[in-house]
């Protein structure tokens, strides 16, 4: 599958998950911008990732500013934002990347036999991470209106 196809499927999965589960429509950035530049206005960005294996293997990551994680968790769980615990927030972020990746793989190939691994919360994103700085594979930058987010796929061979 070509990089453009993966990008299209991930984009569709992100929109569906963000709107259906979190009531947060997103807008994607057209054109190139570095991930560091995209997050330059955000204080604290959290990261979650999930690995998938099978005919295709790789890792999908999601970067979300702390206030947006709180907003997502509150919408997801039907809580006020000040009721959201750290566990709620981390769980929400892990479930989000799980749903996005599962949906992306389902769209990519209805007969896919790729297996998802357990999603992981990676803590605060390190903006100096050379892996994502190079935007290897697929990188999507998007926003909720208030904050900037990013997701990408790091896959050997793309």
């Amino acid at each position: 599958m070509k990089t453009e196809m993966i990008q299209t499927h991930l984009r569709e999965a992100i929109s569906e998950v963000m709107e259906t589960m979190f009531f947060l429509p997103v807008q994607f950035l057209d054109g190139r911008r570095s991930i560091q530049e995209w997050f330059s206005g955000e204080d604290k960005v959290m990261e979650a990732f999930i690995d998938f294996e099978g005919p295709r293997s790789g890792r999908v990551f999601l970067l979300v500013p702390d206030p947006t994680v709180n907003e997502m968790a509150a919408n997801f769980l039907g809580l006020d934002e000040d009721e959201v615990s750290e566990e709620h927030a981390q769980d929400t972020l892990k479930e989000t990347i799980n749903m996005m990746t599962g949906r992306m793989l389902s769209i990519a190939d209805r007969k896919a036999r790729c297996a998802l691994r357990i999603p992981r919360f990676a803590g605060e994103w390190n903006s100096a991470d050379p892996e994502k700085g190079k935007s290897s594979g697929v990188l999507l930058l998007f926003e909720t209106g208030k904050h900037h987010l990013a997701a990408g796929v790091v896959e050997p061979g793309i």
């Binding site: 569906e16 998950v17 259906t20 589960m21 968790a73 997801f76 769980l77 039907g78 566990e87 709620h88 769980d91 929400t92 892990k94 479930e95 799980n98 749903m99 990746t101 599962g102 949906r103 793989l105 389902s106 190939d109 209805r110 007969k111 896919a112 036999r113 790729c114 297996a115 998802l116 691994r117 357990i118």
Partner: protein, 141 residues
């Protein structure tokens, strides 16, 4: 008549969301039990009366597929209906779940209505305004 539900997911957030969706559906639920993986679910099933299980697939220790298989091997548990609630919505996963004995399949992301429709069907509660677009059952294969 009230029924008891076991929700199995390694994400406490997702367990809460599924529980909320069931509550919003208006079903008469007696007890809600929760488990973080298939192994804990089997432990709960052996000490509590459970009428229906909603389980994720991708979990540590014992995953959702393995849970269904174990339940179907157990004379006391094989008749308890299981609904898969999973991101893994490929045809092969759905077909495998149904082959193992799952009674329904809900793909994440889902609308609360998907839970209502599938749970209602599995528990024999009719809903005249059903929309099955995100839910699958054995007869679909």
């Amino acid at each position: 008549m009230a029924f008891n539900v076991l929700i199995v997911d390694d994400s406490s957030a997702m367990r809460a969301v599924v529980k909320k969706a069931i509550k919003l559906s208006g079903f008469d639920v007696g007890e809600y039990w929760e488990a973080a993986d298939g192994k804990e679910a089997l432990d709960k099933l052996r000490i509590h009366w459970v009428d229906v299980v909603l389980t994720d697939i991708n979990m540590p220790q014992l995953n959702g597929m393995e849970l269904v298989a174990k339940m179907k091997e157990d004379g006391l548990l094989r008749s308890v209906p299981v609904i898969m609630v999973s991101t893994e919505g490929s045809e092969s996963k759905v077909a495998e779940s149904i082959r193992l004995g799952a009674s329904g399949y809900i793909k994440k992301p889902f609308h609360p209505e998907d839970i209502k429709v599938t749970l209602g069907r599995v528990m024999g509660v009719k809903d005249e305004n059903r929309d099955d677009s995100n839910t699958l059952e054995g007869s679909d294969f």
